[in-house]
């Protein structure tokens, strides 16, 4: 394989976009699952334990490096493609007949991506930076010490504007994925006629459901809502 083609050729860049995009989608599932602890009873301890696992497990930490690399590749290739595509028609049409074949969000992937990127910076500053570089309160369960990330979440989501920023982030993500998931399948050529409609459906359900669950998190924290089910612990 001539690896440089993956970064220099048009289809190569598209394939990198699709593969990193799918990798990020898998990350979303894990992230969503871990965080969903906050919806259930005994949220503080369950969530803090889960977060501790994610922060201390060697395999997870190694994957985290891959995650950062994936984000950076996806963002860099995404902007490169966008710039090339925008530059490929210097003289614009006087009349355009509308875009019947695509939705606005499919044509706005870079703008939605930029919104996600802005959100991501705020989000990392809120949670990732203090949990890696200190600044979180500590709490004991048994005789083991844990970071109280749950408390941090509670404090951060006490601000209405933060809640609104997070909701906007979730909307951007949802629209980005509504195009992204099926687009990645087309880019990788996974268009078998039985398989492709299924991917499209899964893509739509995923793009609505996962950002919705994420959106419920700041809302649940802000309004202090919790499901009074049996003691559900996700992950452990």
């Amino acid at each position: 394989m001539n690896w440089s083609l993956l970064f220099s050729s048009s289809i190569g860049k598209k394939i990198v976009m699709a593969l990193t995009g799918i990798f990020l989608v898998v990350f979303l599932v894990v992230h969503c699952y871990v965080n969903a602890n906050i919806f259930f009873a005994n949220a503080e301890e369950n969530f803090n334990r889960a977060a501790h696992f994610m922060g201390s497990n060697l395999l997870v930490r190694i994957t985290e490096i891959g995650l950062f690399a994936g984000f950076i590749l996806h963002i860099v290739q995404g902007y490169k493609l966008e710039l090339q595509n925008r530059g490929s028609r210097k003289t614009r049409y006087a009349v355009t007949a509308g875009n019947k074949t695509s939705k606005w969000y499919s044509r706005s992937m870079a703008i939605l991506g930029t919104l996600i990127l802005l959100f991501l910076i705020i989000h990392l500053a809120h949670f990732w930076v203090p949990s890696r570089f200190g600044g979180l309160e500590e709490v004991y369960y048994g005789d083991k010490k844990f970071h109280n990330l749950y408390l941090e979440m509670k404090n951060i989501f006490a601000e209405p504007w933060v809640v609104i920023v997070y909701l906007l982030g979730c909307f951007s993500l949802s629209w980005h994925l509504l195009h992204g998931v099926q687009s990645a399948a087309q880019t990788l050529g996974w268009t078998n006629k039985n398989f492709f409609p299924m991917i499209k459906t899964i893509g739509i359900v995923f793009s609505i459901l996962v950002p919705l669950i994420f959106a419920l998190m700041p809302l649940a924290m802000y309004f202090g809502l919790q499901l009074d089910l049996e003691n559900i612990t996700l992950l452990f």
Binding site: V95, T101, S106, G189
Partner: protein, 253 residues
């Protein structure tokens, strides 16, 4: 079908040569028959312009029967005009009604520079074909049907892909001025047939490299190409192109 005649207001892109900035010019054309083709309507206007001593509107055309792919222009924002699966030469004036305003522009893409008025230089497509759109085996004369067995699905898909006439409407329609529908049709056509097998890997790599070199954008899967293609080439060919490209690069030679 009822025959009628109409008066139209045209707004046409005029550009002396590739260095000229170009501008729109307005023309009234009267008494146009609903049974004329769109190109015949421009012929009528051109005859008048010539008799008035002014420069006629330059546009590409050749077969005028929907098979050569020359008649490039964008009509009211649509390459080849409002009818689905139709070239400009096969578009008839019954698609319009009396009093309509029609804006006519050349295909727009950096890779298709305007030569004059509505004519653009599409030799970028020729160079893409030269880079790999051929077979090296001697296929001889037309052979008896079924002497070379080909799976029905492959034969059908290759046939539909081969219908591409290289007109460039896909590029003109795409928000990224991407040529991937054209390239995917050419790659699919040969990749699906045994005659195309010897150059299968090298072909897709070379054609994509040439496509990139010509300055076309890349596909973001918004599918305007498929909707405007006069031969209704399917975007599933683009998925096949991606697959062929990945396979060729992963396995190498």
């Amino acid at each position: 079908m009822q025959h009628y005649s109409m008066n139209l207001k045209l707004k046409v892109w005029r550009q002396k040569n590739s260095n000229d900035n170009g501008h729109f010019e307005n023309y009234d054309v009267n008494n146009i028959s609903s049974e004329m083709s769109f190109l015949e309507m421009i012929d009528v206007l051109n005859e008048r312009l010539i008799s008035e001593g002014s420069d006629s509107i330059a546009f590409d055309h050749d077969c005028r029967e929907g098979i050569c792919g020359m008649c490039s222009m964008v009509i009211n924002g649509q390459p080849h005009g409002p009818w689905k699966g139709t070239t400009t030469c096969q578009l008839h004036m019954r698609a319009f009604k009396d009093g309509d305003q029609i804006t006519i522009e050349p295909f727009r893409a950096n890779a298709f520079p305007v030569v004059k008025d509505l004519m653009v230089n599409r030799s970028a497509f020729d160079r893409i074909i030269q880079s790999g759109g051929y077979v090296s085996v001697n296929t001889g004369n037309a052979v008896d049907g079924n002497s070379l067995p080909i799976e029905k699905q492959h034969a059908d898909d290759a046939f539909y892909a081969a219908a591409c006439i290289g007109c460039g409407a896909c590029v003109a329609a795409c928000k990224n001025a991407s040529a991937m529908l054209f390239v995917s049709a050419k790659v699919s056509h040969l990749a699906l047939l045994p005659q195309g097998e010897p150059e299968r890997k090298q072909r897709v790599v070379s054609m994509v490299a040439q496509m990139d070199k010509e300055g076309f954008g890349s596909c973001t899967n918004t599918y305007a190409c498929e909707a405007e293609c006069p031969k209704e080439i399917s975007v599933l060919n683009i998925a096949r192109l991606n697959r062929e490209y990945l396979n060729a690069n992963l396995s190498g030679n």
